[in-house]
Symmetry: C2
Subunit: 232 residues, 2 copies
Amino acid sequence: MAAKRSGAQSKRSQRKGLSLRSVQESRSEPPLSLERIVATAVELLDAQGVDGLTMRRLADRLGSGAMSLYWHVANKEEVYDLALDSVLEYRGPPQIAESRDWRGEVVHMLEDWRAIMLRHPWSALLLPRRALGPNILGRLELLSKTLAGAGVADADLNVAIWSLWNYVMGATVTRASFDLSDDDRAAAQQRLTRLSEHYPTIERSRLLLDNDWDGAFRKGLDFLLDGLAPMQ
Amino acid sequence: MAAKRSGAQSKRSQRKGLSLRSVQESRSEPPLSLERIVATAVELLDAQGVDGLTMRRLADRLGSGAMSLYWHVANKEEVYDLALDSVLEYRGPPQIAESRDWRGEVVHMLEDWRAIMLRHPWSALLLPRRALGPNILGRLELLSKTLAGAGVADADLNVAIWSLWNYVMGATVTRASFDLSDDDRAAAQQRLTRLSEHYPTIERSRLLLDNDWDGAFRKGLDFLLDGLAPMQ
DNA sequence: CGATTGAATCGTACGCCGTACGAGTCATGC
DNA sequence: GCATGACTCGTACGGCGTACGATTCAATCG
């Protein structure tokens, strides 16, 4: 059915875990490394979008042959996985004491999340098609812990988390898709105006045009949190 | 930047609009038509997923040469666009009188929407990357009209609509992505269990495992609608 | 009636993609 | 000095989207 993602392993990762150093010592940094590959992949994705990333281009940018990548990485899918997860690292909010303002913390976490994905629009399109990496799971865990700490019962936790996650994902994906099609902002506006000509209510509310996306995101989030609050 | 989608036109659609009949008359139905192409593309997408659709395969299934498709369609992107929009047709709820139970209507529309996209998981992955087709816009318009009819002020309409849309999109995309990676349900469970080992709260809530997706969707939706209600 | 047209089909070919395969390089430890 | 194993990469294969031009065939017109 879908893509198989199970058995794939880079030759590198098949080795147990020994002997990382040796080559490391040479003067000018080793031309290839997983870190450099992932970082360059992110650069490329930022610059060219999801379809702009090809193994050959990636290798070119790294000054190596395309096939050299496959020592460090099992296949292109793994590059996508690593690039996505690498961008989603999260160091919590200032982290003061114990469970102060849970609502503020949740809002902060979710806005940070959204901000990242809007900064890297490809990530919003990629995420639904990739496995959950450690950073994504880490964020989910943190969200769960915060809500649980705020008193949400275990039974309600799933509803709470999925509601928030879904909302953020939807807002991010939608927004990113609008950004994507804005090759030329003015032309896009025109196109949308022409499109919404026969949709009077959409037209009247200027739904597709000058939205205050950030404000709308916050308001919807507040509605959800209002609904969630009685659960604690 | 992103893909250009502007100038593309099938040779067919460049012709004004005359002379549709002629060939129609031959005995065994004409081997190719936009309708057949789109319908077959949907079949293929249902069966093989987003990446399973290729022009050659599509043509094979239609018993024609690959290049013949390009008479009816400008390029592969257009096939995606048409397939997506074709699946999203909507005939409203029983449509009784004027603005009865607006909340019930909204819930019905959104659950129908979600149901479709879960029935065709590829559509959830496609939608964020495609332009808004007439059926999608039609659904948005209907949603807007219902909310406006329920008394939501124009100023609040955008927030209301985007909140709901984002939530539905997120829920759909997330759910579809879980379905996607379930080549083998049992193996997937195992993998998720192993993954969540180091995420105690996720583990405790069994967030990734036996969720009542439908119920959770309804509850989150109710929270949103509760929040929206005061606007009317 | 034959000639012309234009709708529709399709074979071939090009440039790109991911990656299998195996040969090459080179530092290390015997 | 030789074997080993980490790492790099050239070549090649099959598949992709699609540009281009030849082909077929029914309708139209003189």
